[in-house]
Amino acid sequence: MARDITVRDALREALREEMDRNENVILMGQDIGAYGGSYVVTAGFLDEYGRQRIVDTPIAENGIVGSATGMAMGGMRPVVELMTINFSLLAIDQIVNHAAKLYSMFNGQYTAPVVIRTAAGWGQLAATHSQTFENWYAHVPGLRVVMPATPADHKGFMKSALRGNDPVMFIEHSLIYRNRGEVPDDDDFTLPLEGSEVRREGDHVTIACWSRGYYLAVEAAEELAKEGIECEIVDMRVLRPMDTETVAESVRKTNRLVVVEEGWKTLGVGSEIAAAIQEQAFDHLDAPIERVASQEVPVPYNREMERSVFPDKNKVIEGVRTVLAKDVNTATVS
């Protein structure tokens, strides 16, 4: 059995089920209690679980992540909510120099499986509140970095993160909390914290994407299908460890690749995917890989300017047309 629920409800269910299953699971963050969370994921939890387990913290991201890391070292399973990924930069010392390092640096003596929830996204919030940094975290060995798109992935990954032994950056997106999808009816529904997934099959072009980018890819693919262009969509889902083999496998069939991301193009996740695919499927590429990413500017407040920064359905379609228009096999060599 499965139910059609939102990303937000999938997260709520995962957190609630794991809290009920293990009393050492606690939630902590700014305004997650009385306020209910900036994106209302934890609304009502305070009444249900009390202040011991729903901990409103000071506005001190480094402190929140660092103390949660210590709780995890001590046998608890804290889930940190950092209001947005922009603010996670204040915690980067604890994430990169501490949580990600402890298991290795101390020779496997202990782990700190802290789960850090944070949200990318935008909506006329200007330069410091509209960014996404999954590439920063996915660069670091020792972290698992998930950036799911579907409600099922949100739920399954969260439950796995809380049962696993590694620190997890769990990156949500403020613009997809209301998106819906099927979630299995199973209290023990978990998903491995690795692996990409082919979500739509097609022969003409592969689109690699994650998080909100997945929904843009679906919209683009539906429109292109009307013209007879069939896109294969690979949802990356987990950015570290990253499964590029599934993308390569798809490219061996379609011979063309478009990557969609909301980060800046330079040194983005798309750069890594492009590099990996030329290593794994160079001979199968019929066109240069196209990266649909954000404009390289701090995000402005103005609505039209802001929209011009980020990928949208039309930019994905344009990307697909670009790779379809080129064919290395017929290009003349000058």
Partner: protein, 336 residues
């Protein structure tokens, strides 16, 4: 971790075997550090090597005051805590040598000693960074009703960093069983405390968080023991955190790479009069707790132990390169 017997040596809060054990530990740390400096000069130890010489009374006196279940976290000048907690000197020296037999298998080095089985979570080398995980361990102790106190050491330099203030605030607001143990040796690397801290007495910084504090003589191992004991009892009784400022002095440079151009030789000589080891020894002799012969026996045994530690480290193997990727993730990864 003092013996539980009620008997006390006259003039001291501990019995003779504990006192001799503390003396032995202080002397062990001193000789271990002298020896590691030599090994560094010979090229056997690389990277950064921060010696604890001059500060031995703090690690030894304070660790004597806690129980085995209590947590210890320290900064990168961490050899003293490791040895006072009873880590094997050979395995500690082997870690300095980067060997497979080292306490962290050659992965951590001098700055990252640890033994989770002794609740010694590590030396941590990002100044002030470990104060936050320390707060989390104290939270876990309270949440899980474990009655464990966290002993978190750091230097005066750490008190100017943001993480210090976030940690102090959280520990106070959550009333956690943690002792913030500030070893004030008057210098953050090569910068004198008065140039970088608006407040000269570190204990005053606790006032901002309504946290009780004490300033103690870090060169007097008995005072360190007694005051730490008080602090531990304060934390155990559920009264929340405590801040201790232990006044001390580092007799050697910040690290082996330090040419020490920021302080006068006379100043160092002046402080050498407060060497915690002769101070303790003289007191033990004056109070007739020990004889010169007994001390000599301790010295001989420790010297042998340190010699053996170096031999063990030197003869140990390097970690095999095939293990390079071990311990990056605790759970398996199958994707390439």
């Amino acid at each position: 971790m003092a013996s539980t017997k009620k008997s006390r040596t006259k003039g001291f809060p501990l019995e003779k075997s504990d006192l001799l054990d503390m003396y032995r530990q202080m002397y062990l740390i001193r000789e271990f550090e002298n020896s590691s400096a030599e090994q560094y000069a010979m090229g056997k130890i690389a990277g950064f090597l921060h010696l604890y010489i001059g500060e031995e009374a703090i690690a030894v006196g304070s660790i004597k005051a806690i129980e085995e279940r209590d947590h210890v976290l320290g900064h990168y000048r961490d050899h003293g805590y490791a040895l006072a907690l009873g880590l094997d000197p050979g395995e500690v020296m082997a870690e300095l040598f980067g060997k497979k037999t080292g306490v962290t298998g050659g992965r951590g080095g001098s700055m990252h000693l640890a033994d989770a089985s002794k609740n010694f979570w590590g030396g941590f080398a990002i100044v002030s960074g470990h104060l936050l995980p320390s707060v989390g361990l104290a939270y876990a102790s309270k949440y899980m009703n474990e009655d464990r106190v966290v002993l978190c050491y750091f230097g005066d330099g750490a008190t100017n960093a943001g993480a210090f203030h976030e940690a102090m605030n959280m520990a106070a607001v959550w009333e956690l069983p943690i002792i913030f143990y500030c070893e004030n040796n008057l210098y953050g690397m090569g910068t004198a405390v008065e140039h970088v801290s608006a407040v000269q007495e570190m204990a005053k910084k606790a006032l901002a968080y309504d946290m009780p504090s004490m300033q103690i003589d870090g060169q007097n191992v008995i005072e360190v023991y007694e005051k730490t004991k008080e602090a531990v009892e304060h934390c155990r009784s559920g009264k929340g955190p405590m801040f201790i400022e232990a006044l001390t002095y580092r007799f050697r440079g910040h690290s082996m790479a330090d040419p020490e151009q920021y302080r006068e030789r006379e100043e160092v000589e002046q402080y050498r009069a407060y060497d915690p080891i002769p101070l303790f020894r003289d007191r033990l002799l004056e109070e007739k707790v020990v004889t010169e012969d007994e001390l000599e026996e301790i010295h001989k045994a420790v010297n042998e132990q340190v010699k053996a530690a170096v031999k063990f480290a030197d003869e140990s193997e390097n970690p095999p390169l095939e293990t390079l990727a071990d311990f990056v993730y605790a759970d398996p990864i199958t994707v390439r």
